[in-house]
């Protein structure tokens, strides 16, 4: 009897999930939570007001257009036309999804299947691997290697990357600004990837959820705007990251109609529409900021400035505790090598990598949470990154104060 009700092959081995594990542990309110990437700062007040306004309109409590609420896709097309400098059709070039997560899923289900290979740059946002597997395809990993020249993180070994492409390569997943490392891929780096995509006729799935969060000296460049790339790229964005409303779960995919139409087919056969009042509110928020995209007080830029100072503070706290954080050029995460703390966990006999054990230990004994970096690595690379943990710094001052207190007292409590 048990056999008949077994899970399908497509989800075999995909049941464990770092977030399910760690968000449960960190849910204790006495723990200073710098783990999961969710802001504890408030979204801007006009964003919250727009939702209240939208929910008061009767019609907006019922179904809207499946592929995206008309006023939202219109607003998105305007904002991104301005950013990209090209025409974007709201009806054919955009799909609104349940978070960027939903966009990744729709893209992969639409365009990836058994027999395909998908290149994933490590470390990677952890869902890419199971989503590629669930589509029946083979993930092919290539690690970013840390160049220890002081500032920002890493670069790919480009010859190594070229070797990963072959006739089966259907897509490469790009994440810039990068989670967890915070790398902002440069134009030159994107050009290398683009050249490979064109040469091998490969698609590019570009996860750009942190697109507005780039710090001084860096510029977010859209790979879809490089020559030859628009027709083969799906660019993914997120309301949660743009407006600090991760709980709204709205994201979008932008691309050419001949690709987006397949994402739309997946969407109409998976959840059909996204919630209406949230989409309307998001549309209104976008109009407000669209009108001030030339002003520095546009939320897209003001949030970035706010986060840059939090980044600098976080880095300082960690440095004062004797750690060497990798300063991110973008995003709201910071990774740090904890081996200098010399926490001996060899008696913890779980088969987990060091960083998993470290974070669990840190949560219970220091009341501070983070996410182990090996969660973002493929099987071959886990050992390489197992001394790193990831902190999230989109946190209010009192949270960072509490983290500071823990880090200052760290050495006093360790034997």
């Amino acid at each position: 009897m048990a056999f008949r009700h077994k899970n399908t092959r497509r989800i075999e081995g995909l049941d464990s999930n770092v977030w399910v594990e760690f968000t449960k542990v960190a849910a204790d309110p006495s723990i200073v939570n710098l783990g999961q990437g969710l802001p504890d700062i408030s979204p801007p007040s006009y964003v919250k007001e727009e939702l209240a306004k939208a929910a008061a309109v009767d019609r907006l409590n019922q179904y809207t257009r499946g592929f995206g609420h008309p006023s939202l896709v219109k607003a998105l097309s305007q904002v991104y036309e301005r950013v990209c400098g090209r025409k974007i059709d709201p009806l054919t070039d955009i799909l609104v999804t349940v978070g960027a997560y939903g966009s990744l899923f729709s893209t992969i289900q639409a365009l990836i299947e058994e027999g395909d290979e998908v290149i994933i740059i490590e470390p990677f946002y952890d869902c890419y691997e199971p989503m590629v597997k669930m589509a029946g395809a083979k993930p092919v990993f290539i690690p970013l290697r840390y160049k220890n020249d002081g500032n920002s993180a890493s670069s790919a070994d480009w010859a190594e990357l070229a070797n990963k492409f072959n006739s089966k390569t259907k897509a490469i997943i790009l994440n810039t600004p990068h989670n967890p490392i915070g790398k902002v891929f440069t134009r030159e780096e994107l050009q290398v990837i683009a050249d490979l995509c064109i040469k091998h006729d490969t698609l590019c799935i570009s996860d750009e959820v942190y697109e507005w969060l780039v710090y001084k000296g860096n510029k977010h460049i859209k790979i879809a705007m490089l020559p030859g790339m628009w027709e083969r790229t799906i660019t993914i964005g997120s309301a949660g990251k743009t407006y600090s409303v991760t709980g709204w779960k709205l994201g979008w995919s932008i691309g050419p109609p001949n690709l987006i139409k397949h994402l739309q087919v997946v969407h109409q056969n998976t959840l059909y529409t996204c919630p209406t009042p949230l989409q309307e509110a998001l549309a209104q928020a976008f109009w407000i900021d669209y009108k001030r995209m030339d002003d520095s007080d546009c939320y897209f830029y003001s949030l970035s400035r706010e986060l840059e100072s939090k980044r600098d503070r976080m880095a300082q706290l960690l440095q004062e505790a004797g750690l060497k954080p990798v300063i991110p050029d973008g995003g709201y995460f910071m990774i740090v090598d904890v081996s200098t703390l010399n926490v001996d966990l060899s008696e913890v006999d779980e088969k987990q990598p060091y960083d998993y054990k470290f974070v669990k230990w840190m949560i219970t004994s220091k009341k501070l949470s983070a996410i182990p970096l090996s969660a973002f690595c493929g099987p071959e690379t886990k050992r390489q990154f197992e001394k790193y943990i990831r902190f999230c710094f989109i946190k209010k001052d009192s949270t960072l104060d509490a983290a500071e207190a823990i880090l200052k007292n760290w050495n006093k409590q360790t034997a």
Partner: protein, 455 residues
């Protein structure tokens, strides 16, 4: 670092050019294969995309797509406002992936009471983006290539493409109309499964059966006897039951909605699906749920965490408040679950009268907010086109919305391709509409009838 990368990048590109021959072969090989995955084959068409567009363009009275044109109840709107205006701005951030704790707790309590079972909110309940996503999770979790899934016709149209997308094989079995008693209008109860026919559809490849009661589009509320018939077959063949019960509160004439999971041997093999959209007249909130045993729900959780992962927080918070209220008022006259079906029954009766008066023959639904009418006596404006691919009712519905401004959905939309012409003289109306809307529909119908009968 960039400057160091510069020369090596140029070096790399030159290398690239040298292997031009290989690259063009691989490009051509790719170009001959479609870009999209095979799982999308045959599932790209969607009746709603077409009919929603038609309704938006032409209709003055929209009785097509299934959503209320009246607002959600005040207490639900207030719950949302309260959630938004509160101090807790964390309601704008991620909540628990498998369901916001206040919501899964109240759902476990509520459905535990209805099923007379102790339910664990963490393992026996999962929240989804509408019932639609719950269905998707079920098919992805349990249907592998080659698995058969029994679907009772007419069916909510998404079941078929979802089964196909999962690589499964839909196996259809029709509800067959029995002639009503002399002079009476047909009831949805008159559409029945033939027990022998149903039994013949079960094979060793049958993985699941999809049950939708109350049934969209017919409005049929499966009786205990009918559910026992299905349950016995499920137990005998060790088959799963995906039970779509989104219209569970919309039952009329004192009928009872019976949950198949409460029948013997069924809890362990059933996933129950529900919808806040239908329960609270808020289809645009897209909050649904699954209830079932952990050994089945664990696999739904795996699909969910690898597809959407979280559902929107604030809507879940408000729905939780809504359920709290309904638990307090359960069975009492002020309960929304008592008031809504009462109101809708009146609207149903009103529309039945309207349609009957003009010669369209309504099939009186026992539940849901849909009713299906037989247009074979009424159809003369839209001639038969014998060799047409498109079923008659579809052409009729399109003609009607364009020429009369009245939107409805052809019944053939709810049948598989091979069976679309079996019942092609029926159209489905949604009556979850304000009195003014139903009156306007009546005016259109009356005028239309007069035009047909006047010389």
């Amino acid at each position: 670092m960039l400057r160091r990368a510069g020369p090596s990048l140029r070096h790399f590109l030159l290398e690239g050019k040298a292997s031009a021959g290989y690259s063009s072969y691989s490009s051509e090989a790719k170009m001959s294969k479609p870009v999209q995955a095979r799982r999308l084959e045959g599932i790209d068409k969607n009746i709603w995309v077409e009919f929603v567009k038609l309704a938006a363009t032409y209709s003055t009275v929209n009785l097509g797509q299934g959503f209320p044109d009246f607002p959600p109840p005040d207490f639900l709107k207030e719950a949302l406002v309260k959630a938004l205006s509160g101090e807790n701005h964390m309601l704008h951030q991620y909540t628990r992936a498998f369901g916001h704790p206040p919501l899964v707790k109240i759902l476990a309590q509520f459905f535990g009471k209805l099923l007379e079972r102790d339910l664990d909110p963490m393992t026996n309940v999962m929240v989804t983006v509408g019932a639609y996503q719950a269905l998707f999770c079920c098919f992805q979790a349990f249907i592998d290539e080659g698995d058969e899934v029994i679907i009772i016709e007419p069916f909510f149209d998404c079941y078929e493409p979802m089964v196909k997308m999962a690589g499964g094989m839909p196996v259809f079995v029709p509800l067959r109309p029995k002639a009503p008693k002399d002079g009476k209008l047909m009831s949805s109860a008159d559409w029945q499964l033939d027990p022998a026919e149903l039994a013949s559809k079960f094979s060793e490849r049958t993985k699941a059966i999809v049950l939708n009661s109350p049934n969209n589009p017919l409005g049929k509320v499966f009786s205990r006897g009918e559910l026992e018939l299905i349950a016995d077959l499920c137990v005998k063949h060790d088959v799963l039951c995906i039970s779509d019960e989104v219209y569970e509160w919309l039952v009329y004439d004192g009928k009872e909605h019976i949950r198949i999971a409460s029948l013997r041997g069924m809890w362990d093999r059933t996933v129950i699906i529900g919808s806040a959209g239908k329960t609270f007249s808020a289809t645009g909130w897209k909050v649904g749920w699954t209830v079932g045993p952990n050994r089945l729900l664990q696999h739904l959780r795996t699909v969910h965490q690898n597809s959407v992962y979280h559902c929107a927080t604030v809507a879940q918070e408000a729905v939780a408040q809504g359920f709290q209220r309904e638990l307090r008022l359960y069975g009492k006259p002020e309960s929304y679950f008592v008031q809504l079906p009462k109101e809708l029954q009146q609207k149903r009766d009103w529309l039945v009268q309207s349609l009957d008066a003009v010669g369209m023959k309504p099939i009186i639904p026992e539940g849901t907010y849909f009713l299906v009418a037989d247009i074979s006596q009424f159809k003369s404006d839209v001639p038969d086109v014998p060799d047409s691919d498109e079923p008659y009712d579809s052409r009729f519905a399109k003609w009607m919305v364009k020429n009369k401004g009245l939107a409805a959905i052809p019944l053939s939309a709810f049948y598989c391709g091979a069976h679309k012409n079996n019942y092609n003289h029926f159209i489905r109306f949604c009556f979850a509409k304000e009195e003014a809307t139903l009156k306007a529909a009546n005016d259109i119908l009356q005028k239309w009838k007069q035009e047909k009968t006047s010389p």
